[in-house]
């Protein structure tokens, strides 16, 4: 795919944690955004503070882009490892930027017609005094800006604004370095991307899902936010704590997730809109108290931003793996609402909506986000986020009527609420089963019929929820060849896959679910009953949503398009798997060549020294093995002499044997 204005240019920046590439990426993204382009960035990083491998992709386009895209048009690498990992991805016609003092190109890995553009960074930085290593990226950035045909003046402005609070000195130095790179590119005949950009010059907010969600919470009347740091939810905490006073939200970092949710429940009992945020492991710790909130009928919103599991798993990688957990959280049956925002804008409104639903139905509401949605920044339209949102506090009474009963058994299950502090009544919110007044019936007052009716009262609240939720609708033609069903953050990639499929001559449509509990059972059944083939797309290994869909609607999707390696879907991955489905091709879990190569790199990093790398890979059957094997030749980086052969099982992925040459 060639770069173009509408589908965009995709640039990648790769290096190690601590290399400062987030700042570099930010400058680029802001420049583009100020020029009026749409930007969507995704940073693939590791659970390590310095070192490791960071892989930032930024997609720039005139029209709105909804995902980080497929192709790679330009690559900036900050070290050798990064070059070897990504250079093969650069599209023909693309370019690679690197510091020629630190990185050596590997032509055999490159595709045709890729420009190699090494800059003499040390030399170019010389005139500007003692420059810290992390600042040298600015030189490469400058060259990239030239390639992108961006106006340098805008970048100058961005740098000035960014470093204004630090020092004009640093702003100046950064600008000079970038300019040097820009000029060097110009002078050394770098061939620019060749697009005639129509810069809109509208300034757009460039926000992450977590920032949008945090702002939405403020707009929705959240007054209390508790959290314990946990990737990828932490940045909600960071944003709110930084804006706490301005936004009027009391933010509490608690000692653990048990405290987080129980504090939020306490705040809710006192009458404020309360929210907590975490990821899967923290949510597991919260699960007992989710049931508590339901039993006390305390409105509370919990954000679970998912990451790769199980257990600690992949703390900095994305996944949609906690649906089962959220569906099963806590003992017993109880009313609760679960929603999965599908993009950044939606994250804003979801937070506010969740707070309304929580109070209206006096129950816990869970927002299922994930690392992709939480952490990726994208440009929004200036009008996307509206401040004035309805705040529906539900059946909240300012005064206690005579004979007030906190847990009154009403026909809709909703019992009018008064808040502690209200004169004229008192009550206890009890986690034991209780009567209408709140007296527990688990002890001396044991009463099976009362228990039955109170249990039904709580559950009955669920009947009122669905009518308030916007039903899902099918995007694309009714009679498509295949229906892609997704939920949550995969929306953007699936949407684009549908377009790609159309280009490949396949008519697909797209059903996306935001509300998971309650479920628009009838709508979905009706929509899907018209589908010719159903493929559920999700970021996990077992098809958790597909199981939910079956359990809710009785419809078993014939196909699953799954990804569970920690990375978000690219549209083309969905397209390819959809094509295979349409063509009836079987799906295999075998190890592909590029995967075997990565596995070989891992073996090298752990067991062999950095002086070798994998060269050729051949897939062969072996006598002693029932499964085929990737014979991977390992060569010396400098001499290309063969160091040995590594055998990798092409089915299981096991590293079978290292045969030194």
């Amino acid at each position: 795919m060639k770069a173009d204005q509408s589908s965009g240019v995709i640039v990648g920046i790769a290096g190690a944690a601590g290399d400062g590439l987030d700042k570099t990426g930010d400058t680029l993204a802001r420049t583009a955004s100020r020029l009026g382009l749409s930007v969507f960035a995704y940073n693939s990083y590791q659970s390590i503070i310095r070192g490791g491998h960071i892989w930032l992709r930024i997609r720039l386009a005139e029209g709105k882009v909804t995902n980080h895209g497929d192709a790679l048009h330009a690559l900036m690498v900050l070290n050798q490892d990064s070059l070897e990992r990504h250079v093969a991805e650069v599209e023909p016609g693309g370019v690679v930027f690197y510091d020629r003092d630190r990185v050596r190109p590997v032509p055999t890995l490159m595709r045709r017609e890729v420009q190699e553009f090494g800059l003499p960074v040390r030399e170019l930085a010389q005139p500007f005094g003692k420059v810290p290593a992390v600042m040298q990226n600015a030189v490469l950035l400058g060259a990239m800006l030239f390639w992108l045909e961006f106006e340098f003046a805008v970048t100058r402005e961005v740098l000035q604004d960014t470093f204004a609070h630090k020092s004009p000195e640093i702003a100046h130095q950064n600008t000079a370095l970038a300019q040097a790179g820009y000029q060097y590119a110009e002078q050394n005949a770098l061939r620019p991307v060749g697009l005639s950009w129509d810069f809109g010059r509208i300034r757009r907010p460039f926000v992450t899902g977590n920032e949008a969600l945090a702002m939405g919470a403020v707009a929705g009347g959240c007054k209390f936010y508790a959290a314990y740091p946990m990737t990828p939810a932490s940045s909600i905490l960071h944003w709110l704590v930084a804006h706490s006073e301005a936004a009027g939200v009391l933010v509490k970092q608690a000692e653990d997730e048990l405290a987080v949710i129980n504090m939020a429940i306490g705040a809710s009992l006192s009458g404020v809109r309360a929210m907590g945020g975490t990821s899967g492991g923290g949510f597991a710790l919260m699960s007992e108290a989710i049931g508590l909130a339901a039993m006390l009928e305390a409105p509370v919103v919990i954000v679970n931003s998912q990451r790769g599991g199980p257990s600690t798993g992949l703390p900095t990688k994305t996944g949609q793996e906690d649906l089962n957990q959220v569906l099963g959280a806590s003992q017993g049956d109880y009313p609760r609402i679960v929603m999965a925002p599908y993009n950044t804008r939606d994250a804003y409104y979801s937070a506010a909506e969740a707070l309304n639903l929580a109070e209206r139905f006096q129950c816990p509401v869970i927002i299922l986000s994930d690392l992709l949605l939480s952490e990726h920044p994208e440009t929004l339209e200036p009008s996307d986020l509206q401040a004035a949102l309805p705040i529906d506090r539900g059946h909240l009474l300012a005064e206690a009527p005579v004979g007030y009963k906190r847990y009154q058994m009403t026909t809709d299950g909703i019992s009018p609420r008064v808040l502690p502090g209200t004169p004229g009544t008192t009550f206890v919110a009890a986690s034991d089963e209780h009567d209408e007044e709140g007296n527990v019936i688990s002890d001396q007052f044991t009463n099976a019929p009362l228990r039955r009716k109170m249990h039904e009262k709580r559950m009955r609240k669920m009947d009122g929820v669905l009518p308030l939720l916007e039903p899902p609708c099918l995007a694309g033609p009714q009679d498509a060849e295949v229906t892609l069903v997704g939920w949550g953050s995969t929306w953007g990639a699936i949407q684009e896959a549908v377009t790609q499929l159309a280009a490949d001559g396949i008519v697909a449509n797209h059903l996306h679910l935001k509300y998971l509990i309650p479920f628009h059972r009838d709508h979905v059944r009706k929509i899907l009953s018209g589908s010719r083939q159903i493929a559920v797309v999700e970021n996990n290994i077992s098809g958790q949503f597909a199981r939910h869909l079956l359990a809710e609607t009785g419809i078993r999707p014939a196909h699953l398009i799954l990804k569970y390696d920690g990375e978000p879907f690219r549209p083309r991955e969905i397209t390819i798997q959809t094509l295979a489905i349409v063509e009836g091709k079987p799906h295999t879990l075998g190890v592909l060549e590029h995967e075997a190569r990565e596995i070989a790199y891992h073996h090298i990093r752990i067991h062999l020294d950095d002086r070798c790398r994998p060269s050729e890979l051949v897939r062969r059957a072996m006598a002693e093995q029932t499964t085929p094997v990737w014979h991977t030749t390992i060569v010396d980086r400098d001499t290309a002499a063969v160091t040995g052969t590594l055998l990798i099982d092409a089915e299981t992925g096991a590293t079978l044997q290292w045969l030194p040459a």
């Binding site: 757009r204 209390f224 129980n262 401040a387």
Partner: protein, 290 residues
């Protein structure tokens, strides 16, 4: 004076479900007396508990309350208090609840110094679950789960409170209701976290630490010229156990409460503040990202 609150104003909706003779009756009574002494109207009082015999207390007093999860009363109470600083928030629970499952929360709450009063009905046993060893069960105590005698050194709640920054640390005995009332009233009046560990005998499961056992041993610090401002002496008292066991106000000090240090509460109780955002503030937030 005619409309002053009386103890009957705090009478709960139902009779307690405790065993006859349970120490918790004395604590309930003392809490009501303290509320009367401080003339706190029932609707301004919020009693939060975990799970256990002792944790059933909120159901037996006329006040707002929450009867939450085993071990989680402290965070629920913390949230309730932060959200409405007009409420007097009292936590009531057991030794298992507070010093077992809930120990971490307690220590963090003490260093946080929220304005909460925590009354632990310490019967050195798990009452409601029928007599297992608790974190304060004495060494060698034979319980249902330590048939050969407990081998784990008991928690020292007073010492933990002192080292963790609690600003009001006291010990009561439900056999001494007058002192207990004063300690509770003192705790509620105190600005900051008050921990009141109360010997509250379990007449059913703990046949060792009975009323008689305590009566023989407890003495009142206030009658021995104890200076509750002196941390080191307080720590000495915390270590005293055996023939003589101190009760009374062991330590009290002042440092800013968490509420005082929280700027958002400068605008008054959270529950009374405005909700939502206006477009100009939102635009300002968005501008930061451009």
């Amino acid at each position: 004076m005619s409309d002053a609150l009386k103890i009957d104003d705090f009478k709960g909706p139902v009779h307690p479900d405790w065993c006859p003779g349970c120490g918790d009756y004395g604590v309930l009574k003392a809490l009501k007396e303290a509320a009367v002494a401080l003339q706190i109207p029932p609707h301004k009082l919020m009693v939060v508990s975990g799970i256990g015999c002792s944790s059933n207390l909120p159901g037996f007093i006329n006040a707002y309350g929450a009867h939450t999860l085993h071990g989680r009363a402290v965070p629920v109470a913390s949230g309730a208090r932060l959200a409405n600083t007009d409420l007097h928030v009292v936590i009531t629970g057991g030794d298992g609840d507070g010093y077992g499952l809930g120990l971490g929360h307690l220590i963090h709450a003490m260093r946080r110094n929220l304005n909460l009063t925590y009354i632990v009905m310490d019967n050195q046993i798990y009452g409601l679950t029928t007599g297992q060893t608790s974190p304060t069960s004495m060494l060698s105590h034979r319980t249902k789960t330590t048939p050969r005698g407990n081998v784990e050194q008991p928690i020292n709640p007073i010492g933990l409170a002192l080292i963790s920054g609690a600003t009001y640390v006291a010990r009561g005995f439900s056999g001494n209701p007058k002192q207990l009332t004063e300690l509770i009233a003192g705790g509620i009046s105190h600005a900051g976290l008050a921990l009141i560990d109360v010997f509250s005998p379990c007449v059913t499961w703990n046949k060792v630490n009975t009323y008689a056992w305590f009566r023989e041993r407890v003495y009142d610090l206030s009658q021995e010229g104890h200076d509750p401002a002196n941390w080191s002496v307080a720590m000495e008292k915390a270590l005293q156990w055996g023939d003589r066991i101190p009760t009374g106000l062991i330590y009290q000090t002042y440092r800013p409460t968490y509420e005082e240090a929280e700027p958002v509460l400068g605008k008054g109780p959270l529950v009374a503040q405005d909700l939502g955002i206006n477009q100009s503030l939102l635009d300002q937030f968005l501008a930061e990202t451009m």
